[in-house]
Amino acid sequence: MPVRAGVTIPTLLSPERRSVEFRARAAALGPVRESGGAEAPHHGPWSGVFRFCEVIGAVDSPRSAARGRTSSALAAGARPWQARGVPDQTLPLRSRTAIAAGRAVAAASRALGRGRGQVIGGRVMLRVDPQLLARLAAGMEVTAVSATNGKSTTTRMIAEALATRAPVAHNRTGANMAPGVATALAESRAAPFAAIEVDEAHLPAVAAATHASQLVLMNLTRDQLDRGSEVKMLADRWRRMAETLTPATEVVANADDPMVVWAAAAAPRVTWVGCGQWWTLDSALCPRCGAPLARPASGWACPACGFARPETLWFISHDADRIVTPAGPVTPRLVLPGRFNVGNAAIALAAVNARGISLDAALEAFSQVSDVDGRYVRASAHGREARLLLGKNPASWTEMMGVVSDSAALLVTVLNARGADGRDPSWIWDVGFEEWAGRPVWVAGERRFDLAVRLDTAGLDVVGVSADPLAALELAAPDQALDVVANYTAFQELRARLVSK
């Protein structure tokens, strides 16, 4: 059987050569795609047509249309924020020493060009005073936000909205374990509010140490599997945390993620928000009894034990263009792209509303957010503009592919597999890239060949491969805009090179 013409794409072209080829051929050389017509007819269990996005159900599963509107005594939530005098509590000497030592180390770290210093500074602070988190948080209303995806953006929205009322301590650079939180709280000691994003695995410890009065729980999906952080394990850990809570802590939780509901339902006070779940592969089984979950129009339910999506007063509309609140639907005016950011806005809205921020004020604040620590930023290099998008795991990468779908920009994908990324990048095969077959794509990063094989298999047109993603900017056509989707360390590096200067 002859190899079909077009299957073979030269693989060892120099970047220059590829670039020339890219400019010249545009979309002339079609992707390797199976020609239609010869598919088996649809009968029995055979699907006939091969579409990976159907397999994983992750790309375009329709949202359930109608949402229930049953009242929950706890859901209305409009607990007005009591303005309080900013307490100028004098910290113990030990704590002040800790903060000074931490600041010094952070400054030294910055001076040495070793990053922004929040983590190492915070580590020093906590070593000098292990009780520092509790002492710093004592005068604050702490909102802790956690999720696999969207926690930085949602925390940012919450911080912006709270800031319309009073100063907010906020770990805005994403240092989201105890040291980063300590640094953020120490930097804004007088703030009555704290909005902190917290790593999923560290949430129980940080929430306890800071006596967080509000926990925002959004989603749990696969991420860094080589660390053995199984989704169900994290959900169980969150659940054990929720069991220890008192009604003094409000949990604001995504009703659409069964793993989150499993955890949050153990808390005594929960506000449920339907902020969407498009990645369902990590919640195929009932977290309570292990039976396969059903996905009825109402969201999700376990046919075996009855565990089901709680009803919500807050939820996003079917088309993710509006947020329904207990006071009626509102329209978010987000600069940030993507339906998942509407979901982020919905849960942020419910959270800040419970802190006494009006819907209007909150939505106005959300609309001011145009980028989140480099995400969505438009940076330029070599005279070309690139939009930076973070896709750190299959769920977020799938969302980012949705964001770039309608864009005329050249897609540049960048993949590393360092410790912070997870050493095993095989999750790229969980992203339904098949939906973008035929699209030209440049592939870069330390694991570019893994990604190139993946994208080529999906039928994308791999027009260039380079270790350095900036080669794509350098070699693209002069007026070519670029959308760069990069995973965690690749993104950090790009941001450092393009944005932080």
């Binding site: 059987m1 199976e34 029995g44 699907s47 397999v55 053995g228 089984l285 095969w429 060949f449 094989v453």
Partner: protein, 280 residues
């Protein structure tokens, strides 16, 4: 059929696998697909179609019946709870046992390998019965085996490269033989200090601990599985053997670079691990 009978790539037919229809059954991707193993099915389908073969693909979800007339059944890796759910469903339906009985091929990865064996232990110490299609037993193994693997296949295929991530040690019985010998990494991890074996073959049942996905990194391995599936398809349809034989070579962009890079990395890791042992 003995364990080794299909271990050599078939040489009949001489380069044209003919115009077969091959039925691939992807079992429980929502349960057993944690480490990108769904990619194996994508690679199989694409490589089959590139040779002009018609691919019928069935994707079977939990609670759904699997087709009885598949030629290649594929089962990926998964977390404990998913693995137990998959094992119970497959034991209850008996579909894989019947498929193997009539000559269909089965390909399983990691937790899928464990499910095909006689039994396997999950975290917490419970031992769950498997399907008994492989003469293999799995017990918990400390520490967890995580990292790059290189393994030399026993059947003359090129060096296997992949990524392992498992807390099980699998011991093969006499009816099964290993797929490969470990060059770097752990592999099956049977025996007290690891037996240096990787994967298992028993008749047309083939299993490995390697993710990557393994068939994306090892296209010749994918083709060998397709040849097994074609053989099964030929027998199933009663055709006169036109569907048997070797598949024509297929150039796969970027795979050579990927393999070279992963092999170099795995070998350097092995060297540093050995020198660390020497220093101690």
């Amino acid at each position: 059929m003995t364990a080794g009978e299909l271990a050599q790539p078939s040489t009949a037919g001489g380069g044209d696998a003919g115009s077969g229809v091959v039925g691939i059954v992807h079992l429980y991707p929502t349960l057993m697909g944690t480490y990108g193993d769904g990619g194996n099915v994508l690679v199989l389908a694409r490589r089959a179609r590139a040779r002009g073969l018609d691919v019928r693909l069935a994707v079977v979800g939990p609670g759904e019946p699997a087709p009885e007339d598949g030629d290649l059944y594929v089962l990926g890796g998964g977390e404990d709870a998913s693995q137990v759910a998959a094992a119970r469903e497959l034991r209850a339906s008996g579909v894989l046992a019947r498929a193997v009985e009539r000559g269909a091929a089965v390909f399983a990865v990691c937790a899928g390998l464990q499910v095909l064996g006689r039994d396997f232990e999950v975290s917490g110490g419970a031992v769950e019965p498997g399907l008994g299609l492989l003469d293999a037993t799995t017990r918990r193994r400390e520490p967890r085996a995580v990292g790059e693997v290189l393994a030399e296949p026993v059947n003359g295929l090129p060096l296997l490269t992949g990524y392992e991530n498992h807390g099980g040690g699998t011991e093969l019985g006499p009816a099964a033989r290993a797929l490969a010998r470990v060059v770097a990494g752990v592999g099956n991890g049977g025996g007290a200090s690891g037996d240096g074996l990787e994967g298992a073959i028993q008749g047309r049942v083939v299993a490995t601990y390697l993710h990557g996905p393994v068939l994306a990194r090892n296209p010749e391995f994918a083709d060998w599985l397709l040849e097994l599936a074609l053989l099964a398809a030929t027998e199933r349809t009663g055709a006169d053997g036109a569907g048997c034989g070797r598949l024509a070579p297929l150039d796969t962009p970027f795979v050579a670079e990927l393999r070279a890079e992963r092999e170099a990395y795995a070998r350097s890791g092995k060297l540093s691990a050995e020198s660390a042992r020497t220093r101690r």
